[in-house]
């Protein structure tokens, strides 16, 4: 495989002798584009490894359909074990040894933070990073790094505004995971509530990913007398929280992070009747929500899954995520119109206009510009009715924090 592509390169170079090929386009030959990616296939976050599998399958599909402008995609995804030191090592391997054109969707806030400086110093695009932290989009300091999904902080701001509108005298309790994911929700609430935060938020309780349950935290939060609960927890703990809140007879206004809105992996395990009234906000469609059972966009995703990942877990929303973010990347490559220099790839990534992804909610559009590195900024509130998520209100565009 490798030797053949070298041979092809040699042929191509001979054929185009004299013309400027590959001089300023590292990772790109006449027939191939090399894309790098890091994923936690091992270690504590290995559940996210499926995103890498979904993306590998996606680029295989693209190649089967003829590639991009006559270029096949060589997608090289490597394991960083969710360890920043390893991520640095792997990013350098991809850039220096494999010679990739750019990194696409490397996963994890710590891993991306660790490589951000290196990528920008080398002027290698670090595109559509898979993290919900708020800092991805700092086009002034890190012009080669771009996020994709709305940040957790933006989402928390939306919840805070909703609480202020619906329940101005709310007594708020917060359950959060004790890491960057959970603490971004605290930050988002503080952005909007400001001085009122100390008065309105009557209790915060954190949990560790190594805690078996969050039952004790829920009991503590209920005892504080709060009537509103904001839950920033991953699926297992979110399901536990919804169940425990119901079982102890607490009936707060419950706002739940969109990380944990999966019907099959959160609402059903928690007990569909126990989550009635829970509110979340989202930009994408849930793979297991019956509302999208016959949706053309989701059917496109299902057809892809059936053909390229027949044994995969169709309940896992990470595959939907992988499909959506890969489509965005594909759009950028198409916009490049054959000029796959790093500078042009970055320029096109910052030039997405009202691009719509079939796995995103209706009305959610992807927009970027040289001064807007937040591709998705829109979300819509939705409420659990016992069977499905019901959207309500308008599509909300998150502001600058």
């Amino acid at each position: 495989m490798r030797s053949r592509s070298i041979l092809l390169t040699a042929v191509a170079v001979l054929a185009l002798a004299g013309s400027a090929v590959a001089a300023d386009t590292p990772g790109v030959t006449a027939t191939e584009i090399k894309i790098g990616n890091t994923m936690p296939y091992s270690g504590p976050a290995s559940a996210y490894g499926v995103i890498g599998k979904g993306e590998t399958a996606f680029w295989k599909m693209v190649n089967d359909q003829g590639g991009v402008d006559g270029h096949k995609i060589d997608f090289i995804s490597v394991d960083d074990g969710y360890n920043p030191a390893k991520a640095v090592e792997q990013a350098r391997k991809l850039v220096e040894e494999e010679g990739v054109a750019f990194l696409f969707n490397p996963l994890g806030t710590p891993s991306n933070t660790a490589i951000e400086k290196y990528m920008n110093a080398k002027k290698v695009p670090q595109l559509f990073v898979a993290t919900g932290a708020d800092k991805w989009g700092d086009y002034q300091h890190f012009p080669w790094t771009m996020g994709w999904q709305p940040s957790y902080r933006t989402e928390a701001q939306i919840y805070a505004k909703y609480i202020l509108k619906e329940k101005p005298n709310a007594k708020i309790a917060v359950l959060y995971q004790n890491d960057d994911f959970g603490k971004d929700y605290i930050a988002g609430l503080k952005d909007v509530l400001g001085d009122k935060y100390a008065k309105m938020v009557v209790k915060e309780a954190s949990y560790e990913v190594t805690d078996p349950t969050v039952d004790s935290q829920i009991v503590t939060l209920q005892a504080s007398g709060a009537d509103t609960l904001v839950t920033a927890a991953t699926p297992k703990f979110a399901a536990q929280a919804i169940r425990k809140v119901y079982d102890i007879g607490w009936k707060p206004l419950h706002l739940l992070t969109n990380v944990s809105l999966s019907v099959a992996a959160v609402m059903v395990p928690a007990g569909p009747e126990k989550g009635v009234g829970v509110i979340t906000s989202n930009y994408g469609k849930d793979a297991t929500d019956p509302a999208w059972a016959n949706d053309p966009g989701m059917n496109e995703w299902r057809a892809f899954m059936k053909k390229y990942l027949p044994d995969a877990d169709m309940k896992d929303n990470n595959y939907v995520y992988a499909y959506g973010v890969s489509l965005t990347m594909l759009q950028v490559l198409k916009q490049c119109k054959g000029d796959f220099s790093r500078a042009n790839i970055m320029k096109q990534a910052a030039n997405l206009k009202d691009f719509e992804v079939p796995t995103a909610l209706p009305g959610i559009k992807i927009n970027t510009s040289p001064t807007n590195y937040h591709p998705i900024r829109q979300m819509q509130l939705q409420r659990w009715d016992g069977k499905t998520w019901v959207r309500f209100g308008d599509v909300i565009t998150g502001g600058e924090s």
């Binding site: 091992s42 394991d79 660790a114 951000e116």
Partner: protein, 340 residues
């Protein structure tokens, strides 16, 4: 836990000669060759490979620290990732908040880790075997929690961690930053190994091994076991902490997620695979923990950890006493064969 056997061949009265030179001379020649190779290395391999080599050196220092405690002194630790973290954070915080030059932060990290390790070693004196494992495990769990605790945010950067810059080579040295960092790590590693070697082959080393093999007998012979054990904890933590400080310069980033419980487990695996109570083993162990995950990743995306586990068990099956255990056994056999 008191039976951490290591088959150390008895120093034979009449050292056998190989090609007219004694074993000792051959060892010195070998060491010189390795050192020469280590100095040439950064000029012949790629920048990425140099990063791996530097990481191996850093891990070797960390493993040497753990080996002093576990291999030589028989004290079990599931928490050395914590000392690595403290060393790394010391350097990162000093570089981030003060104007102290990077080279001066390394000894400061070492001193701090020595103090923490020594203090931790005092209550740990009363704990043995599984109980010590639990206590050190608690240290490994507690350290990331403390690093991200909100009241320490102003120092540690909380969950976001601290981004630092790698040092450039001193003026006048024609070296790239990564080459310089390699030599900088090597400049720390060599004296640390020499000091450990001097410490462990002499009176102190014999005392440590005596405590490991038979604490009661050692105490009876007048060895102050409490002092030795807590000092060993301190020295061990110091080595691992210095490795952490060097590792922070290498990764240019520290965060609580960098130092989870699995780091401590990796160190323990490295020590066992390399060979208990062996200084050379630290390098083999470091090579194992650095490269086996990469190999596993190449073989399987679905279950790389399963491959890692299989390789680990396979290594233990072939070399129950680690790489150096095997080397010693082979050397012993070779020695007998030559003597015959």
């Amino acid at each position: 836990m008191a039976t951490l056997e290591t088959s150390r061949p008895a120093a034979s009265a009449a050292a056998p000669l190989f090609a007219g030179l004694s074993l000792r001379v051959w060892q010195i020649i070998g060491l010189a060759a390795v050192l020469a190779a280590a100095c040439v290395l950064p000029f012949v391999i790629s920048s990425y490979q140099l990063l791996l080599a530097t990481q191996v050196i850093v891990y070797a220092v960390a493993l040497l620290g753990l080996n002093i405690l576990t291999g030589y002194n028989g004290q079990f630790s599931l928490g050395h990732g914590a000392f690595y973290a403290i060393g790394a954070y010391t350097t990162a915080i000093l570089l981030d908040k003060t104007g102290i030059p990077y080279w001066a932060t390394i000894p400061m990290a070492g001193v701090l880790c020595f103090i923490v390790g020594f203090l931790f070693g005092l209550p740990a004196l009363r704990l043995e075997g599984h109980y010590l494992a639990l206590a050190t495990f608690a240290l490994a769990i507690a350290t990331p929690q403390l690093l991200k605790y909100k009241d320490f945010d102003f120092l540690t950067g909380g969950v976001q961690g601290i981004v630092i810059s790698a040092p450039d080579a001193p003026d006048g040295l024609p070296l790239r930053a990564d080459q310089w960092l390699y030599f900088f790590c090597l400049l720390w590693t060599i004296p640390l190994f020499i000091v450990a070697w001097n410490l462990l082959r002499g009176r102190t080393g014999r005392a440590l091994v005596a405590i490991r093999d038979h604490p009661l007998a050692a105490a009876t012979m007048g060895i102050d076991t409490a002092r030795y054990k807590s000092m060993t904890f301190g020295v061990s933590a110091m080595y691992t902490g210095i490795a952490g400080a060097l590792g922070a310069l290498l990764a240019q980033f520290v965060s609580p997620d960098s130092f989870d419980f699995f780091l401590s487990v990796r160190f323990l695996v490295g020590v066992v695979v390399g060979g208990l109570a062996s200084m050379t083993g630290a390098f083999f162990g470091a090579i194992f923990i650095e490269f086996v995950p990469n190999i596993a990743d190449l073989l399987s995306k679905a279950a790389p950890q399963a491959i890692y586990g299989v390789v680990l068990i396979g290594c233990m099956y072939l070399m129950p006493t680690g790489v150096m255990g095997l080397v010693r056994a082979l050397g012993h056999r070779l020695g007998r064969w030559v003597a015959r």
